[in-house]
């Protein structure tokens, strides 16, 4: 594969499988450390709803049977491993008998749409601003304006969401307050639906972009400062290369590698969504699914969502590991030496 030794790929593949297996085992163990099981939680929910729960012992026994909680723990674990390999995370306790995989499938496209767009825009804007903060040819006024934009990073996304909501949805009535599409718009491959999705996604996306681009800006700025004093940059300047050429080919290209790693991790994590942003905008993506599942103590959903997050992160890291040698010849050479 593009000169990458097969042993390197196999090593990374083994790491991927081990990571997913360990993580999957942990997310199976952790909920079981709780003194209560999902059946007791469901019964507790009925009691919390008010009044006497008639036949509670019988209900508890039936629920345990249905969720396989009467099986020995090791049987439960093996059944769990078998089911996650087929992406069968069982049935939701709070929305019984809906399969968890169908809840995830419903939520995933919304989150990927919102988060992917936000993360890509944020990555581009953030890194560009970070690079310009260091570049000596950046106009002075921008060197003042860009750092002051960092104030937005201190704002939690939920607050920026509320602020944007107040200005654009309540005062200006320019954008909708809530939901992923219009109240009476029917989902489908229609222009009306597509426009409605874009209109409804604007505020949630803006609230994420506004508060997260600083992460990339500050990271890039630090990396650019390191690169700025390198001999090869000075040599390029001495050779009389164009400043823009030096910026893109010598500085940014070298500085951006750790940012790409961080980007890959973000891509993996983006399936978890922005829990609070999704909640306040009633945007029914993965973040809100996870939020509701935690409130409902719906272990099957929590496990399913967590597994997807872990899997996506591990795969992203795996892909980056494969891409790295292609971007950076030093890594390729080291890999070849090891091989």
């Amino acid at each position: 594969m593009g000169g990458i030794p097969s042993s390197y790929i196999v090593n990374r593949l083994i790491t991927l499988v081990l990571t997913v297996w360990i993580a999957a085992t942990l997310i199976w163990i952790i909920p079981r450390l709780s003194p209560v099981d999902p059946a007791e939680v469901m019964l507790g929910r009925m009691a919390a709803g008010g009044a006497f729960v008639e036949g509670s012992d019988l209900i508890l026994e039936q629920l345990r049977e249905r969720f396989g909680l009467n099986e020995p723990r090791w049987v439960q674990y093996l059944l769990y491993l078998r089911s996650i390999i087929t992406f069968d995370f069982g049935l939701s306790a709070a929305s019984f008998p809906t399969p968890v995989s169908s809840l995830i499938a419903q939520a995933l496209p919304w989150t990927i749409g919102l988060m992917l767009l936000s993360v890509i825009i944020t990555f581009i804007i953030g890194n560009a601003l970070g690079a310009f903060m260091v570049w000596e040819r950046t106009p002075r006024v921008w060197k003042v304006v860009i750092p002051s934009l960092m104030i937005f990073t201190a704002i939690p996304p939920i607050l920026s969401g509320l602020l944007l909501m107040y200005v654009f949805a309540v005062q200006l009535r320019a954008l909708p307050l809530t939901g992923a599409y219009g109240l009476t718009v029917e989902p489908g491959w229609t222009m009306e639906f597509a426009l409605s999705v874009v209109e409804h996604g604007t505020l949630p996306a803006l609230s994420i972009i506004l508060v997260t681009f600083g992460f990339w800006t500050l990271g890039m700025r630090g990396l650019m400062i390191t690169v700025q004093g390198e001999d090869y940059v000075n040599l390029a300047k001495a050779k009389g290369l164009k400043p823009r050429y030096i910026l893109y080919k010598y500085m940014v290209r070298n500085a951006i590698l750790p940012q790409v790693t961080a980007f890959a991790l973000k891509i993996g994590l983006l399936v978890s969504g922005q829990i609070l942003v999704e909640r306040i905008f009633s945007y029914n993506g993965m973040g809100k699914l996870l939020y509701d599942a935690i409130l409902d103590q719906d272990f099957a959903v929590i496990q399913g969502v967590s597994f997807i997050i872990i899997l996506m992160t591990a795969i992203s890291v795996f892909i980056v590991d494969l891409i790295y040698p292609l971007i950076d010849p030093r890594i390729r050479q080291a890999t070849e030496r090891t091989a």
């Binding site: 006497f52 729960v53 809906t98 499938a105 939901g179 009476t184 306040i280």
Partner: protein, 578 residues
Amino acid sequence: MTQLKASLLAGTAFAVALTGAVAAQDVPREDTVIFDIDRTIRDPENFNPFTPGVKRQHGAHQTMWEPLFILNYESGEIEPWLATSFESNDAQDEWTVTLRDGVTWSDGETFDADDVIFSINMALENEGLSEREPATIRAQVASVEKVDDLTVTFSLNSSNPRFILENFANRIFGSFLIMPEHVWSEAGDPATFAFNPPIGTGPYTMTSMATNRAIWDRNDDWWGAASGFMDLPEPMRVIFLESGGEENRAQLLVSNQMDAAQAVTLGTFEAMGFQNPNVIAWFNDLPYAWPDPCARQMEFNTTVAPWDNAEMRRAVAMLIDRNQIVNVAYEGTTQPSRTMFVQYGAMDPFIDAVDSAGHAFSASADVEAAQALIEGMGYTMGSDGIYELNGEELTANIHVNSASSEYTRTIDVIVEQLNRAGVNARAVPVENSVFWGEVLPLGGYEMSYSWLSCGSVNEPWASMNRYTNASVAPIGERAPGFNNTGRWDTDATAAYTAIVQDMGTMAVGDPAIPAMVAEAHGYLSAEVPFVPLVQAAKLLPFNTTYWTGWPTAENNYNHPAFWWGSAHQIIHNLEKAE
């Protein structure tokens, strides 16, 4: 993998799942009423009301499925709806219900006794129907028989004067819903049947469902209007919309994009009123809020010293200033509890009887009398202002569910009150599932904040029966039905139990009951297995910009819980604003 792939395709295609739905046509805002739902409709394609999830309160049991009866919280009357009357035999273990003539399902099929018989038998035969209502039917009903097309008779496992109230009258949240036999008999396993598209007898049919909203459009051929039972409701369309939290629901109401919202805090309500004068609540002034059926209280574990001593429990009850809890923790939006009961109009005769007998709890504290009781038990005040006995401080650990600031704020006030009076109290916040799954049912607490008296709304037995000695389980074992989790089991409990069990055999509305309630409550007030605190506040904002006729303390045709099955009455009472 195949399953996920299929699911992903379904999810990505958005519309595929909804192909059965009729496209939502535009209906003018002034003909549409918009209600708030506080949960996501996770499974919008599933309308099986006998399994957990948001499958009823998104409008299904407020607009599409109708109940047999609706309990009126103000009058205490059980008002007829799909059924016209009920009666029992003398032993009250056989109940006969007469159904209304002329009722049809929205697909034109007749609603009759066959549907009732089928639905009840389905609950009896399928343990997989795990919601509260089918489980209650399984616990209470032995068999059901058809007398004629409009009459059914239920044979119960034991005498139960409250059978109709507990199962068919929307006592709290909902009641057992009758399903169409001609659809469900073809369904296969009723526990996994999605019932999509759903049908009902109500004046609305489902138009469109998504995870964050449900649209119901008026069926102008509704049987009720055709038979003269009732006029068609005025709203052409009813929408249940997930607002996304208190901030959003406030903005939606202020901007007239919503007509009825879930509970908000006082600050939010006042801010809404400032921006939109058409926003109203149950009361015009403080406390504004309608009391939720589950009044708040503090339980004692009566097996743990020193709280196994009734004098010590009484002392704590006297140290608690309920007025202060109302003012500080609830900002004036509720009222102190006088007894164990929720303070609805229908409960007044029982509350008044307890009050007249001198057994009601005072709204204010009596610290001196409480301290005298504590000192009578041998405690002396230490130099640090905390009582001691044999070198040991008097401590009180109060378990509280950390899921809501309402709970923790209340306990914070009580902790402060107890500390000032010489009891070294502290709150023990516990995560929601552990609290309800372990702490309460297993009796794993000294004191705990809860609402385990919940049950009575128009008669006293449902709440009182939760503290009899029939429900006492050893510590560490599960208290049946979350009853008497504090394991109150003394001679007074036995005397209390005898009265409550007698009461349990008497018809609802028997004139002898108030005096019996007063006598039984006397044992509770003397031994204090739990301390009634305050009424639970539900501050529900309604918007009168487009619709009037909302339930209020002045227009009290029933309570304002619009997510309950009784909300049919609310929708029928709405009138277009002038």
